[in-house]
Symmetry: C2
């Protein structure tokens, strides 16, 4: 079994209200030193076979077309054993 991890985050220029809310909560709780919080999504896809068997280009199209919205989000993809 291999695991494909896809992290989807809003592009840096897109306002992130969820992250902003977390950041505000930290400040209200008296936690200092936090500069910015961004919240995104993480997908763990378990795939049959081992790392070498994973069709990375198929996984990249899934990440780009199904798991993220390329207009406002960036994704990173990595394959783990």
């Amino acid at each position: 079994m291999a695991r494909v991890i896809v992290d989807v985050m809003l592009k840096p220029e897109i306002l992130d209200p969820q992250g902003r809310a977390v950041s505000g909560a930290l400040t209200r709780l008296g936690i200092t030193g936090v500069n910015d919080v961004r919240q995104g999504k993480r997908f763990e896809i378990t795939v049959d076979g081992n790392v070498a068997d994973v069709d990375e280009s198929a996984m990249r199209s899934i990440a780009e077309e199904l798991l993220s919205n390329p207009v406002i989000e960036d994704y990173t993809l990595r394959i783990e054993p």
Copy 2:
């Protein structure tokens, strides 16, 4: 600037309807070999100072008390430059 990455995922024994929906969509699109999909949250917290200055135990309490629900979710935390 250091970055604290907190990944929050539902515990393995908790049903994940979002992940299940993605998994079902992949199957309907004819993508085979995908065994399971789990969807979680990823937080990127930008902190003042460098990696050595980060108060890891404070960050762990934030992750445990604010960013995740320990009853149903597990988190992993790592500090990156």
